[in-house]
Protein backbone atom coordinates (compact mmCIF):
# COMPACT_ATOMS: atom_id res chain seq x y z
CA UNK A 1 0.00 0.00 0.00
CA UNK A 2 1.47 3.35 -1.05
CA UNK A 3 1.05 6.15 1.42
CA UNK A 4 1.67 9.66 0.21
CA UNK A 5 2.68 12.63 2.31
CA UNK A 6 1.22 15.51 0.37
CA UNK A 7 -2.15 14.62 -0.95
CA UNK A 8 -3.04 17.94 -2.57
CA UNK A 9 -0.16 17.57 -5.02
CA UNK A 10 -0.96 13.91 -5.56
CA UNK A 11 -4.55 14.77 -6.19
CA UNK A 12 -3.56 17.32 -8.80
CA UNK A 13 -1.25 14.89 -10.55
CA UNK A 14 -4.02 12.34 -10.70
CA UNK A 15 -6.63 14.79 -11.72
CA UNK A 16 -6.95 13.81 -15.35
CA UNK A 17 -7.39 10.13 -14.51
CA UNK A 18 -9.93 10.86 -11.84
CA UNK A 19 -11.93 13.24 -13.92
CA UNK A 20 -12.48 10.27 -16.15
CA UNK A 21 -13.45 8.15 -13.18
CA UNK A 22 -16.03 10.67 -12.15
CA UNK A 23 -17.56 10.74 -15.58
CA UNK A 24 -17.86 6.97 -15.86
CA UNK A 25 -20.93 7.15 -13.73
CA UNK A 26 -23.71 6.66 -16.21
CA UNK A 27 -27.19 8.04 -16.19
CA UNK A 28 -30.01 6.13 -14.54
CA UNK A 29 -30.07 2.72 -16.11
CA UNK A 30 -33.68 1.95 -15.33
CA UNK A 31 -35.49 5.16 -15.84
CA UNK A 32 -39.21 4.56 -15.87
CA UNK A 33 -39.16 1.67 -13.39
CA UNK A 34 -40.61 2.29 -10.00
CA UNK A 35 -38.42 2.80 -6.96
CA UNK A 36 -38.81 0.27 -4.16
CA UNK A 37 -38.60 0.36 -0.39
CA UNK A 38 -35.03 0.42 0.82
CA UNK A 39 -32.99 -1.93 2.97
CA UNK A 40 -31.39 -0.92 6.26
CA UNK A 41 -28.02 -2.30 7.29
CA UNK A 42 -27.20 -3.00 10.95
CA UNK A 43 -23.88 -4.32 12.25
CA UNK A 44 -24.66 -7.31 14.45
CA UNK A 45 -21.16 -8.61 15.23
CA UNK A 46 -17.59 -7.37 15.00
CA UNK A 47 -18.33 -3.75 15.83
CA UNK A 48 -15.83 -3.71 18.74
CA UNK A 49 -12.91 -4.23 16.34
CA UNK A 50 -14.03 -1.42 14.03
CA UNK A 51 -11.50 1.32 13.29
CA UNK A 52 -12.60 4.82 14.38
CA UNK A 53 -12.80 7.31 11.53
CA UNK A 54 -14.28 10.79 11.21
CA UNK A 55 -15.87 11.89 7.93
CA UNK A 56 -16.40 15.63 8.28
CA UNK A 57 -19.35 17.17 6.40
CA UNK A 58 -17.99 18.43 3.11
CA UNK A 59 -17.62 22.11 2.44
CA UNK A 60 -20.03 23.52 -0.14
CA UNK A 61 -19.13 26.01 -2.83
CA UNK A 62 -22.25 26.72 -4.79
CA UNK A 63 -25.59 28.45 -4.69
CA UNK A 64 -28.24 27.58 -2.13
CA UNK A 65 -28.14 24.47 0.06
CA UNK A 66 -25.50 21.77 -0.58
CA UNK A 67 -26.49 19.65 -3.58
CA UNK A 68 -25.70 16.39 -1.79
CA UNK A 69 -24.43 15.11 1.56
CA UNK A 70 -21.31 13.28 0.31
CA UNK A 71 -19.89 12.80 3.81
CA UNK A 72 -23.14 11.29 5.05
CA UNK A 73 -23.07 8.57 2.40
CA UNK A 74 -19.31 7.90 2.87
CA UNK A 75 -19.78 7.65 6.62
CA UNK A 76 -22.72 5.25 6.23
CA UNK A 77 -20.80 3.15 3.69
CA UNK A 78 -17.74 2.77 5.88
CA UNK A 79 -19.89 2.00 8.91
CA UNK A 80 -21.97 -0.60 7.04
CA UNK A 81 -18.82 -2.56 6.23
CA UNK A 82 -18.41 -3.26 9.92
CA UNK A 83 -14.69 -2.50 9.64
CA UNK A 84 -15.04 1.18 10.55
CA UNK A 85 -16.81 3.07 13.31
CA UNK A 86 -17.57 6.54 11.94
CA UNK A 87 -17.79 9.43 14.42
CA UNK A 88 -21.18 11.14 14.76
CA UNK A 89 -21.12 14.63 13.31
CA UNK A 90 -22.31 16.14 16.60
CA UNK A 91 -19.19 14.79 18.33
CA UNK A 92 -16.85 16.70 16.01
CA UNK A 93 -15.22 19.69 17.71
CA UNK A 94 -14.23 21.31 14.42
CA UNK A 95 -15.29 20.83 10.82
CA UNK A 96 -12.27 21.46 8.59
CA UNK A 97 -12.77 21.41 4.83
CA UNK A 98 -9.12 22.05 3.83
CA UNK A 99 -5.86 20.46 4.95
CA UNK A 100 -4.59 23.70 6.49
CA UNK A 101 -7.58 23.76 8.88
CA UNK A 102 -6.88 20.32 10.38
CA UNK A 103 -5.74 20.29 14.01
CA UNK A 104 -4.44 16.71 14.44
CA UNK A 105 -4.02 17.02 18.20
CA UNK A 106 -7.71 17.81 18.49
CA UNK A 107 -8.69 14.68 16.51
CA UNK A 108 -6.27 12.54 18.55
CA UNK A 109 -8.06 13.73 21.67
CA UNK A 110 -11.31 12.51 20.12
CA UNK A 111 -9.61 9.12 19.64
CA UNK A 112 -10.24 8.86 15.95
CA UNK A 113 -7.58 7.09 13.87
CA UNK A 114 -8.47 8.53 10.48
CA UNK A 115 -10.01 11.72 9.18
CA UNK A 116 -11.75 12.48 5.88
CA UNK A 117 -12.38 16.04 4.75
CA UNK A 118 -13.58 17.42 1.43
CA UNK A 119 -15.45 19.98 -0.57
CA UNK A 120 -18.25 19.80 -3.10
CA UNK A 121 -18.05 22.57 -5.69
CA UNK A 122 -20.72 23.51 -8.18
CA UNK A 123 -19.16 24.06 -11.60
CA UNK A 124 -22.38 24.67 -13.51
CA UNK A 125 -26.13 24.16 -13.09
CA UNK A 126 -25.78 20.35 -13.25
CA UNK A 127 -22.02 19.85 -12.86
CA UNK A 128 -20.04 19.37 -9.70
CA UNK A 129 -16.54 18.54 -8.49
CA UNK A 130 -15.93 16.64 -5.27
CA UNK A 131 -12.49 16.66 -3.68
CA UNK A 132 -11.51 14.76 -0.58
CA UNK A 133 -8.46 13.96 1.50
CA UNK A 134 -7.84 11.10 3.89
CA UNK A 135 -5.50 11.67 6.88
CA UNK A 136 -3.79 9.36 9.33
CA UNK A 137 -4.54 11.23 12.54
CA UNK A 138 -1.95 9.44 14.66
CA UNK A 139 0.89 10.24 12.29
CA UNK A 140 -0.55 13.56 11.29
CA UNK A 141 -0.14 12.94 7.59
CA UNK A 142 -2.25 12.76 4.44
CA UNK A 143 -2.71 9.29 2.94
CA UNK A 144 -4.56 9.99 -0.25
CA UNK A 145 -6.80 12.49 -1.95
CA UNK A 146 -8.81 12.67 -5.12
CA UNK A 147 -10.87 15.01 -7.23
CA UNK A 148 -13.97 13.63 -9.00
CA UNK A 149 -16.35 15.30 -11.40
CA UNK A 150 -20.01 14.35 -11.50
CA UNK A 151 -23.36 15.35 -12.83
CA UNK A 152 -26.16 15.97 -10.36
CA UNK A 153 -27.64 12.50 -10.81
CA UNK A 154 -24.23 10.90 -10.15
CA UNK A 155 -23.46 12.48 -6.79
CA UNK A 156 -24.50 9.41 -4.79
CA UNK A 157 -22.32 7.18 -6.94
CA UNK A 158 -19.48 9.63 -6.56
CA UNK A 159 -19.82 9.32 -2.79
CA UNK A 160 -19.68 5.50 -3.12
CA UNK A 161 -16.52 5.82 -5.22
CA UNK A 162 -14.93 7.95 -2.51
CA UNK A 163 -15.90 5.25 0.02
CA UNK A 164 -14.30 2.62 -2.24
CA UNK A 165 -11.03 4.57 -2.43
CA UNK A 166 -10.87 5.18 1.32
CA UNK A 167 -11.71 1.52 2.04
CA UNK A 168 -8.99 0.29 -0.31
CA UNK A 169 -6.41 2.71 1.06
CA UNK A 170 -7.03 1.62 4.64
CA UNK A 171 -7.70 -2.12 4.24
CA UNK A 172 -5.88 -3.04 1.04
CA UNK A 173 -9.17 -4.56 -0.23
CA UNK A 174 -11.13 -2.97 -3.07
CA UNK A 175 -14.36 -1.46 -1.76
CA UNK A 176 -17.71 -2.74 -3.03
CA UNK A 177 -19.77 0.35 -2.25
CA UNK A 178 -20.23 1.12 -5.97
CA UNK A 179 -21.58 -2.34 -6.73
CA UNK A 180 -25.20 -3.48 -6.87
CA UNK A 181 -27.13 -6.37 -5.46
CA UNK A 182 -30.15 -8.21 -6.82
CA UNK A 183 -32.69 -9.95 -4.63
CA UNK A 184 -36.26 -11.23 -4.56
CA UNK A 185 -38.80 -9.43 -2.39
CA UNK A 186 -42.01 -11.12 -1.39
CA UNK A 187 -45.06 -9.25 -0.23
CA UNK A 188 -47.86 -11.25 1.37
CA UNK A 189 -51.11 -9.41 0.91
CA UNK A 190 -54.03 -9.51 3.30
CA UNK A 191 -56.19 -11.35 0.75
CA UNK A 192 -53.64 -14.20 0.82
CA UNK A 193 -52.11 -13.42 -2.54
CA UNK A 194 -48.40 -12.86 -2.99
CA UNK A 195 -46.39 -10.39 -4.97
CA UNK A 196 -42.88 -11.43 -5.99
CA UNK A 197 -40.46 -8.75 -7.19
CA UNK A 198 -36.98 -9.01 -8.59
CA UNK A 199 -35.15 -5.95 -7.29
CA UNK A 200 -31.79 -4.44 -8.13
CA UNK A 201 -30.37 -1.88 -5.70
CA UNK A 202 -27.08 -0.26 -4.75
CA UNK A 203 -25.04 -2.36 -2.34
CA UNK A 204 -26.27 -0.17 0.54
CA UNK A 205 -29.90 -0.94 -0.35
CA UNK A 206 -30.57 2.54 -1.74
CA UNK A 207 -31.83 3.23 -5.24
CA UNK A 208 -33.90 0.03 -5.34
CA UNK A 209 -35.50 -0.60 -8.73
CA UNK A 210 -38.02 -3.23 -9.76
CA UNK A 211 -36.79 -5.47 -12.57
CA UNK A 212 -39.68 -7.95 -12.71
CA UNK A 213 -42.89 -8.54 -10.81
CA UNK A 214 -45.27 -11.51 -10.62
CA UNK A 215 -47.93 -13.11 -8.49
CA UNK A 216 -46.17 -16.43 -9.21
CA UNK A 217 -42.75 -17.28 -7.76
CA UNK A 218 -39.65 -15.52 -9.05
CA UNK A 219 -36.34 -17.02 -8.05
CA UNK A 220 -32.68 -17.73 -8.76
CA UNK A 221 -31.48 -14.31 -10.00
CA UNK A 222 -28.00 -14.37 -11.52
CA UNK A 223 -25.88 -11.47 -12.82
CA UNK A 224 -24.16 -11.46 -16.17
CA UNK A 225 -20.42 -10.75 -15.75
CA UNK A 226 -20.84 -7.27 -17.27
CA UNK A 227 -23.72 -6.48 -14.87
CA UNK A 228 -25.96 -5.58 -17.80
CA UNK A 229 -28.28 -8.61 -17.70
CA UNK A 230 -29.93 -10.77 -15.10
CA UNK A 231 -31.09 -14.35 -15.61
CA UNK A 232 -33.87 -15.65 -13.38
CA UNK A 233 -36.63 -18.21 -13.07
CA UNK A 234 -40.28 -17.23 -13.30
CA UNK A 235 -43.31 -19.45 -12.74
CA UNK A 236 -45.65 -17.16 -14.67
CA UNK A 237 -48.41 -19.19 -16.30
CA UNK A 238 -47.91 -21.98 -13.77
CA UNK A 239 -44.81 -23.40 -15.42
CA UNK A 240 -41.14 -22.72 -14.77
CA UNK A 241 -39.13 -20.78 -17.32
CA UNK A 242 -35.64 -19.29 -17.45
CA UNK A 243 -35.53 -15.66 -18.57
CA UNK A 244 -32.66 -13.30 -19.41
CA UNK A 245 -33.47 -9.61 -18.99
CA UNK A 246 -31.40 -6.63 -20.08
CA UNK A 247 -31.52 -4.12 -17.24
CA UNK A 248 -31.08 -0.91 -19.19
CA UNK A 249 -33.86 -1.59 -21.70
CA UNK A 250 -36.07 -3.95 -19.72
CA UNK A 251 -36.28 -6.31 -22.71
CA UNK A 252 -36.27 -9.95 -21.78
CA UNK A 253 -36.02 -13.27 -23.50
CA UNK A 254 -37.40 -16.63 -22.39
CA UNK A 255 -34.40 -18.86 -23.02
CA UNK A 256 -35.84 -22.10 -21.65
CA UNK A 257 -39.38 -23.26 -20.97
CA UNK A 258 -38.99 -26.95 -21.62
CA UNK A 259 -41.22 -29.59 -20.06
CA UNK A 260 -40.61 -30.12 -16.35
CA UNK A 261 -38.02 -28.19 -14.37
CA UNK A 262 -36.26 -25.10 -15.75
CA UNK A 263 -34.08 -23.92 -12.90
CA UNK A 264 -30.91 -22.38 -11.49
CA UNK A 265 -29.45 -20.29 -14.35
CA UNK A 266 -25.91 -18.90 -13.93
CA UNK A 267 -23.82 -17.04 -16.51
CA UNK A 268 -20.47 -18.34 -17.66
CA UNK A 269 -17.51 -16.03 -16.90
CA UNK A 270 -17.50 -14.82 -20.54
CA UNK A 271 -21.25 -14.15 -20.45
CA UNK A 272 -21.93 -16.27 -23.55
CA UNK A 273 -23.40 -19.35 -21.90
CA UNK A 274 -25.86 -20.20 -19.18
CA UNK A 275 -25.56 -23.22 -16.96
CA UNK A 276 -29.06 -24.33 -16.04
CA UNK A 277 -30.99 -27.29 -14.71
CA UNK A 278 -33.57 -29.12 -16.79
CA UNK A 279 -35.60 -32.25 -16.17
CA UNK A 280 -37.06 -32.39 -19.70
CA UNK A 281 -39.08 -35.51 -20.49
CA UNK A 282 -37.11 -37.78 -18.15
CA UNK A 283 -38.24 -36.03 -14.99
CA UNK A 284 -34.64 -36.23 -13.77
CA UNK A 285 -32.79 -32.99 -12.98
CA UNK A 286 -29.50 -32.62 -14.82
CA UNK A 287 -26.98 -29.84 -15.39
CA UNK A 288 -27.01 -28.38 -18.90
CA UNK A 289 -25.25 -25.53 -20.68
CA UNK A 290 -27.04 -23.28 -23.14
CA UNK A 291 -25.16 -21.14 -25.65
CA UNK A 292 -27.14 -17.90 -25.63
CA UNK A 293 -26.29 -16.95 -29.21
CA UNK A 294 -26.54 -20.34 -30.96
CA UNK A 295 -29.15 -21.87 -28.58
CA UNK A 296 -27.07 -25.08 -28.54
CA UNK A 297 -27.99 -27.09 -25.46
CA UNK A 298 -25.55 -29.57 -23.92
CA UNK A 299 -26.23 -32.01 -21.10
CA UNK A 300 -23.35 -32.25 -18.62
CA UNK A 301 -24.68 -34.74 -16.08
CA UNK A 302 -26.76 -37.89 -16.51
CA UNK A 303 -26.93 -39.30 -13.01
CA UNK A 304 -30.36 -40.37 -11.74
CA UNK A 305 -29.81 -38.09 -8.73
CA UNK A 306 -30.94 -34.49 -8.32
CA UNK A 307 -28.15 -32.52 -10.01
CA UNK A 308 -28.78 -28.80 -9.53
CA UNK A 309 -27.44 -25.37 -8.48
CA UNK A 310 -24.64 -25.14 -11.04
CA UNK A 311 -22.03 -22.39 -10.80
CA UNK A 312 -19.01 -21.84 -13.04
CA UNK A 313 -15.40 -22.01 -11.96
CA UNK A 314 -13.59 -18.70 -12.42
CA UNK A 315 -11.86 -20.00 -15.58
CA UNK A 316 -15.15 -21.28 -17.03
CA UNK A 317 -13.71 -24.75 -17.59
CA UNK A 318 -15.70 -26.57 -14.94
CA UNK A 319 -19.00 -26.31 -13.15
CA UNK A 320 -19.64 -26.90 -9.47
CA UNK A 321 -23.09 -28.21 -8.57
CA UNK A 322 -25.20 -29.91 -5.91
CA UNK A 323 -26.03 -33.60 -6.25
CA UNK A 324 -27.56 -36.18 -3.93
CA UNK A 325 -26.07 -39.09 -5.91
CA UNK A 326 -24.36 -40.32 -2.74
CA UNK A 327 -27.45 -39.95 -0.54
CA UNK A 328 -27.64 -36.41 0.84
CA UNK A 329 -26.81 -33.31 -1.16
CA UNK A 330 -23.08 -32.65 -1.67
CA UNK A 331 -21.04 -30.42 -3.95
CA UNK A 332 -19.46 -31.93 -7.08
CA UNK A 333 -17.41 -30.54 -9.92
CA UNK A 334 -17.61 -31.52 -13.58
CA UNK A 335 -15.52 -30.30 -16.52
CA UNK A 336 -17.38 -28.56 -19.34
CA UNK A 337 -15.57 -30.64 -21.98
CA UNK A 338 -17.52 -33.57 -23.48
CA UNK A 339 -17.35 -36.81 -21.53
CA UNK A 340 -16.04 -35.25 -18.31
CA UNK A 341 -16.81 -37.15 -15.13
CA UNK A 342 -18.07 -35.44 -12.00
CA UNK A 343 -15.89 -35.49 -8.89
CA UNK A 344 -17.10 -35.00 -5.35
CA UNK A 345 -15.79 -31.86 -3.61
CA UNK A 346 -17.45 -31.75 -0.14
CA UNK A 347 -17.53 -34.46 2.51
CA UNK A 348 -17.58 -32.73 5.86
CA UNK A 349 -21.29 -32.54 6.70
CA UNK A 350 -24.44 -34.49 5.77
CA UNK A 351 -25.78 -31.54 3.75
CA UNK A 352 -23.60 -29.26 1.60
CA UNK A 353 -25.52 -27.46 -1.14
CA UNK A 354 -25.80 -24.37 -3.37
CA UNK A 355 -22.09 -23.78 -4.13
CA UNK A 356 -20.82 -20.33 -5.14
CA UNK A 357 -17.18 -19.73 -6.02
CA UNK A 358 -15.11 -16.91 -4.51
CA UNK A 359 -13.70 -14.35 -6.99
CA UNK A 360 -10.18 -15.83 -6.57
CA UNK A 361 -11.54 -19.34 -7.16
CA UNK A 362 -10.07 -20.69 -3.93
CA UNK A 363 -13.19 -20.99 -1.79
CA UNK A 364 -16.74 -22.24 -2.22
CA UNK A 365 -19.58 -20.78 -0.21
CA UNK A 366 -22.19 -23.45 0.59
CA UNK A 367 -25.34 -24.04 2.61
CA UNK A 368 -24.31 -26.45 5.38
CA UNK A 369 -27.03 -28.52 7.03
CA UNK A 370 -26.70 -30.55 10.18
CA UNK A 371 -28.99 -31.30 13.13
CA UNK A 372 -31.82 -29.34 11.56
CA UNK A 373 -29.78 -26.14 11.23
CA UNK A 374 -28.84 -24.66 7.88
CA UNK A 375 -25.94 -22.22 7.86
CA UNK A 376 -23.43 -20.64 5.51
CA UNK A 377 -19.99 -22.19 5.29
CA UNK A 378 -16.93 -21.82 3.10
CA UNK A 379 -15.01 -24.77 1.74
CA UNK A 380 -11.35 -24.62 0.75
CA UNK A 381 -11.23 -25.85 -2.85
CA UNK A 382 -7.81 -27.47 -2.45
CA UNK A 383 -8.27 -29.50 0.72
CA UNK A 384 -12.03 -29.55 1.26
CA UNK A 385 -11.78 -27.96 4.73
CA UNK A 386 -15.04 -26.40 5.88
CA UNK A 387 -15.51 -23.32 8.05
CA UNK A 388 -19.05 -22.47 9.16
CA UNK A 389 -19.51 -18.69 9.19
CA UNK A 390 -23.07 -18.10 10.38
CA UNK A 391 -25.25 -19.34 13.22
CA UNK A 392 -28.81 -19.07 11.92
CA UNK A 393 -31.34 -21.87 11.58
CA UNK A 394 -32.44 -21.30 8.00
CA UNK A 395 -29.55 -19.52 6.28
CA UNK A 396 -29.37 -19.93 2.50
CA UNK A 397 -28.38 -18.45 -0.87
CA UNK A 398 -24.77 -17.30 -0.18
CA UNK A 399 -23.19 -14.94 -2.71
CA UNK A 400 -19.66 -13.52 -2.60
CA UNK A 401 -19.03 -9.79 -2.86
CA UNK A 402 -16.82 -9.15 -5.90
CA UNK A 403 -13.89 -8.30 -3.60
CA UNK A 404 -14.19 -11.72 -1.95
CA UNK A 405 -14.18 -10.22 1.54
CA UNK A 406 -17.87 -10.60 2.30
CA UNK A 407 -20.75 -12.99 1.65
CA UNK A 408 -24.35 -11.84 1.42
CA UNK A 409 -27.00 -14.47 2.22
CA UNK A 410 -30.64 -14.91 3.18
CA UNK A 411 -31.83 -15.78 6.65
CA UNK A 412 -34.93 -15.38 8.80
CA UNK A 413 -35.67 -13.13 11.75
CA UNK A 414 -38.94 -13.32 13.66
CA UNK A 415 -40.43 -15.34 10.82
CA UNK A 416 -39.47 -12.79 8.17
CA UNK A 417 -37.03 -13.29 5.36
CA UNK A 418 -34.10 -10.88 5.74
CA UNK A 419 -30.70 -10.48 4.13
CA UNK A 420 -27.47 -10.60 6.07
CA UNK A 421 -23.78 -10.47 5.34
CA UNK A 422 -20.74 -12.01 6.94
CA UNK A 423 -17.06 -11.31 6.34
CA UNK A 424 -15.26 -14.34 4.94
CA UNK A 425 -13.22 -14.52 8.14
CA UNK A 426 -16.52 -14.80 10.03
CA UNK A 427 -15.78 -11.83 12.29
CA UNK A 428 -18.12 -9.16 10.97
CA UNK A 429 -21.84 -9.75 10.58
CA UNK A 430 -24.43 -7.31 9.36
CA UNK A 431 -28.16 -7.62 8.94
CA UNK A 432 -29.93 -6.00 6.04
CA UNK A 433 -33.62 -5.69 6.81
CA UNK A 434 -36.26 -4.69 4.35
CA UNK A 435 -38.66 -1.98 5.40
CA UNK A 436 -41.57 -4.10 4.18
CA UNK A 437 -42.10 -7.73 3.23
CA UNK A 438 -39.67 -10.61 3.00
CA UNK A 439 -36.44 -10.50 1.07
CA UNK A 440 -34.59 -13.55 -0.18
CA UNK A 441 -32.00 -14.85 -2.64
CA UNK A 442 -29.51 -11.97 -2.66
CA UNK A 443 -26.90 -11.97 -5.42
CA UNK A 444 -23.98 -9.59 -5.34
CA UNK A 445 -23.27 -7.99 -8.70
CA UNK A 446 -19.82 -7.62 -10.27
CA UNK A 447 -17.59 -4.56 -10.04
CA UNK A 448 -18.89 -1.85 -12.36
CA UNK A 449 -16.99 -1.76 -15.64
CA UNK A 450 -15.92 1.48 -17.29
Amino acid sequence: MVRVAESEAVARSRRSRLSLLGLIVAACAWCGTAAEAQLNITITEGQDAAVPIAVVPFGWQGTGAPAFDIAGVVSADLGSSGRFAPMATRDMVSRPTQAAQVNFQQWRTLETDYLVIGTLTQDGPENFTATFQLFDVVRGEALTGFRLQAGRADLRRTAHRISDMIFQELTGIPGVFSTQIAYISLERRTDGSKQYRLIVSDADGENAQRVAESTQPLLSPSWSPDARRIAYVSFEGGVSGVYVQTLRTGTRERVSARAGVNSSPTFSPDGRMLALVLSRDTGNLDIHTLDLSTQVLRQLTTDAAIDTEPTWSTDGRSIYFTSDRAGGPQVYRVGTEPGARAQRVTYDRPYNARPRISPDGKQIAVVVGENNRYQIGIVNVDNGDLQVLTNGRLDESPSFAPNGAQIIYATTQNGRGVLASVSTDGRIKTQIASVAGDVQEPVWGPFPRP
Binding site: V277, A353, E441
Partner: protein, 173 residues
Protein backbone atom coordinates in the same frame (compact mmCIF):
# COMPACT_ATOMS: atom_id res chain seq x y z
CA UNK B 1 -76.65 -36.68 0.34
CA UNK B 2 -75.30 -39.87 -1.13
CA UNK B 3 -74.24 -40.41 -4.69
CA UNK B 4 -73.44 -43.22 -7.00
CA UNK B 5 -69.72 -43.52 -7.57
CA UNK B 6 -70.22 -43.78 -11.29
CA UNK B 7 -72.06 -40.49 -11.34
CA UNK B 8 -69.39 -39.00 -9.24
CA UNK B 9 -66.56 -39.96 -11.51
CA UNK B 10 -68.31 -38.85 -14.66
CA UNK B 11 -69.36 -35.52 -13.25
CA UNK B 12 -66.02 -35.04 -11.59
CA UNK B 13 -64.30 -35.26 -14.91
CA UNK B 14 -66.61 -32.69 -16.42
CA UNK B 15 -66.52 -30.28 -13.53
CA UNK B 16 -62.83 -30.53 -12.85
CA UNK B 17 -62.10 -29.60 -16.40
CA UNK B 18 -64.15 -26.48 -15.99
CA UNK B 19 -62.64 -25.39 -12.72
CA UNK B 20 -59.11 -24.70 -13.81
CA UNK B 21 -56.28 -25.10 -11.35
CA UNK B 22 -58.17 -24.84 -8.08
CA UNK B 23 -57.95 -27.83 -5.82
CA UNK B 24 -61.33 -29.16 -6.78
CA UNK B 25 -62.62 -31.92 -4.57
CA UNK B 26 -64.78 -34.47 -6.35
CA UNK B 27 -67.46 -34.15 -3.68
CA UNK B 28 -68.36 -30.75 -5.10
CA UNK B 29 -68.60 -32.35 -8.48
CA UNK B 30 -70.94 -34.97 -7.05
CA UNK B 31 -73.33 -32.30 -5.84
CA UNK B 32 -73.68 -31.07 -9.37
CA UNK B 33 -74.52 -34.53 -10.60
CA UNK B 34 -78.06 -34.33 -9.23
CA UNK B 35 -79.03 -32.30 -12.20
CA UNK B 36 -79.36 -33.59 -15.72
CA UNK B 37 -76.59 -36.01 -16.38
CA UNK B 38 -75.87 -36.34 -20.03
CA UNK B 39 -73.16 -38.95 -19.73
CA UNK B 40 -75.64 -41.81 -19.63
CA UNK B 41 -73.97 -43.61 -16.75
CA UNK B 42 -76.03 -42.30 -13.92
CA UNK B 43 -79.10 -44.28 -13.15
CA UNK B 44 -78.15 -47.91 -12.84
CA UNK B 45 -77.78 -47.78 -9.06
CA UNK B 46 -80.89 -45.83 -8.28
CA UNK B 47 -83.03 -47.58 -5.69
CA UNK B 48 -86.81 -48.00 -5.70
CA UNK B 49 -87.33 -44.99 -3.47
CA UNK B 50 -85.45 -42.70 -5.80
CA UNK B 51 -82.54 -42.20 -3.35
CA UNK B 52 -79.13 -42.86 -4.81
CA UNK B 53 -77.38 -45.57 -2.85
CA UNK B 54 -73.73 -46.36 -2.44
CA UNK B 55 -71.91 -49.52 -1.43
CA UNK B 56 -69.22 -49.45 1.30
CA UNK B 57 -66.60 -50.02 -1.39
CA UNK B 58 -67.89 -47.07 -3.38
CA UNK B 59 -67.92 -44.88 -0.30
CA UNK B 60 -64.29 -45.75 0.32
CA UNK B 61 -63.41 -44.99 -3.28
CA UNK B 62 -65.16 -41.66 -3.06
CA UNK B 63 -63.33 -40.82 0.15
CA UNK B 64 -59.99 -41.64 -1.47
CA UNK B 65 -60.77 -39.62 -4.59
CA UNK B 66 -61.40 -36.60 -2.39
CA UNK B 67 -57.89 -36.81 -0.99
CA UNK B 68 -55.67 -34.76 -3.26
CA UNK B 69 -52.46 -34.41 -1.29
CA UNK B 70 -49.67 -36.94 -0.74
CA UNK B 71 -47.13 -36.19 2.02
CA UNK B 72 -43.47 -37.18 2.26
CA UNK B 73 -40.67 -37.62 4.76
CA UNK B 74 -37.84 -35.11 4.98
CA UNK B 75 -35.49 -35.16 1.96
CA UNK B 76 -37.40 -38.20 0.64
CA UNK B 77 -39.56 -38.90 -2.40
CA UNK B 78 -40.56 -42.43 -1.43
CA UNK B 79 -44.33 -43.03 -1.35
CA UNK B 80 -45.33 -43.81 2.22
CA UNK B 81 -47.55 -46.91 2.66
CA UNK B 82 -50.49 -44.90 3.97
CA UNK B 83 -50.88 -43.26 0.55
CA UNK B 84 -50.99 -46.50 -1.46
CA UNK B 85 -54.80 -46.78 -1.40
CA UNK B 86 -55.25 -43.12 -2.31
CA UNK B 87 -52.93 -43.41 -5.29
CA UNK B 88 -54.50 -46.70 -6.35
CA UNK B 89 -57.92 -45.03 -6.47
CA UNK B 90 -56.64 -42.07 -8.50
CA UNK B 91 -54.59 -44.30 -10.78
CA UNK B 92 -57.56 -46.52 -11.56
CA UNK B 93 -59.76 -43.49 -12.12
CA UNK B 94 -57.25 -42.06 -14.58
CA UNK B 95 -56.93 -45.43 -16.31
CA UNK B 96 -60.71 -45.57 -16.78
CA UNK B 97 -60.95 -41.93 -17.84
CA UNK B 98 -58.32 -41.48 -20.50
CA UNK B 99 -59.42 -37.90 -21.12
CA UNK B 100 -58.71 -36.86 -17.55
CA UNK B 101 -55.67 -34.70 -17.10
CA UNK B 102 -53.81 -34.47 -13.80
CA UNK B 103 -51.32 -31.80 -12.84
CA UNK B 104 -48.88 -32.95 -10.16
CA UNK B 105 -47.48 -30.06 -8.12
CA UNK B 106 -44.43 -31.02 -6.07
CA UNK B 107 -43.41 -29.08 -2.96
CA UNK B 108 -40.73 -29.13 -0.27
CA UNK B 109 -40.42 -27.65 3.19
CA UNK B 110 -38.40 -24.47 3.67
CA UNK B 111 -35.22 -26.07 5.00
CA UNK B 112 -32.07 -26.08 2.93
CA UNK B 113 -31.41 -24.45 -0.39
CA UNK B 114 -34.23 -23.32 -2.64
CA UNK B 115 -33.08 -24.84 -5.89
CA UNK B 116 -32.32 -28.22 -4.37
CA UNK B 117 -35.86 -28.07 -3.00
CA UNK B 118 -37.13 -27.54 -6.55
CA UNK B 119 -35.38 -30.84 -7.29
CA UNK B 120 -37.02 -32.55 -4.33
CA UNK B 121 -40.48 -31.31 -5.35
CA UNK B 122 -39.97 -32.60 -8.89
CA UNK B 123 -38.73 -35.96 -7.65
CA UNK B 124 -41.83 -36.28 -5.45
CA UNK B 125 -44.14 -35.38 -8.34
CA UNK B 126 -42.39 -37.96 -10.52
CA UNK B 127 -42.74 -40.61 -7.80
CA UNK B 128 -46.48 -40.00 -7.66
CA UNK B 129 -46.69 -40.07 -11.44
CA UNK B 130 -44.93 -43.45 -11.60
CA UNK B 131 -47.29 -45.01 -9.06
CA UNK B 132 -50.34 -43.70 -10.91
CA UNK B 133 -49.00 -45.08 -14.17
CA UNK B 134 -48.57 -48.50 -12.56
CA UNK B 135 -52.37 -48.45 -12.13
CA UNK B 136 -52.78 -47.99 -15.84
CA UNK B 137 -52.79 -44.21 -16.26
CA UNK B 138 -51.02 -42.99 -19.39
CA UNK B 139 -48.01 -40.67 -19.31
CA UNK B 140 -49.86 -38.22 -21.53
CA UNK B 141 -52.42 -37.63 -18.77
CA UNK B 142 -49.86 -35.85 -16.57
CA UNK B 143 -48.06 -32.58 -16.30
CA UNK B 144 -45.67 -31.99 -13.42
CA UNK B 145 -44.41 -28.78 -11.89
CA UNK B 146 -42.16 -28.32 -8.87
CA UNK B 147 -42.51 -25.21 -6.75
CA UNK B 148 -39.87 -26.32 -4.23
CA UNK B 149 -40.37 -24.33 -1.04
CA UNK B 150 -41.95 -21.35 -2.81
CA UNK B 151 -45.61 -22.15 -2.14
CA UNK B 152 -46.00 -23.55 1.35
CA UNK B 153 -49.41 -24.90 2.34
CA UNK B 154 -48.71 -23.88 5.92
CA UNK B 155 -46.64 -20.95 7.12
CA UNK B 156 -44.36 -21.38 10.11
CA UNK B 157 -41.04 -23.02 10.89
CA UNK B 158 -41.96 -26.05 12.97
CA UNK B 159 -42.30 -29.79 12.42
CA UNK B 160 -46.02 -29.64 11.72
CA UNK B 161 -45.72 -26.87 9.09
CA UNK B 162 -42.81 -28.68 7.48
CA UNK B 163 -44.75 -31.97 7.40
CA UNK B 164 -47.71 -30.31 5.68
CA UNK B 165 -45.43 -28.61 3.15
CA UNK B 166 -43.55 -31.73 1.96
CA UNK B 167 -46.22 -32.77 -0.47
CA UNK B 168 -47.52 -33.41 -3.94
CA UNK B 169 -50.88 -31.90 -4.81
CA UNK B 170 -53.08 -33.68 -7.35
CA UNK B 171 -54.83 -31.05 -9.45
CA UNK B 172 -57.37 -32.36 -11.97
CA UNK B 173 -57.62 -30.16 -15.03
Amino acid sequence: MRHAFVILLTAATLTLTACGRDNVVPEDAGANSNGANDAGLSTDRQGNDGVITESPLEAEQRRLMQQLVVYFDYDEAEILPEFNALLQAHGQFLARNANSQLRLEGHADERGSREYNIGLGERRAQAVRRVLMLQGAAGTQFTTVSYGEERPAQTGSDDEAWRLNRRVELVYR
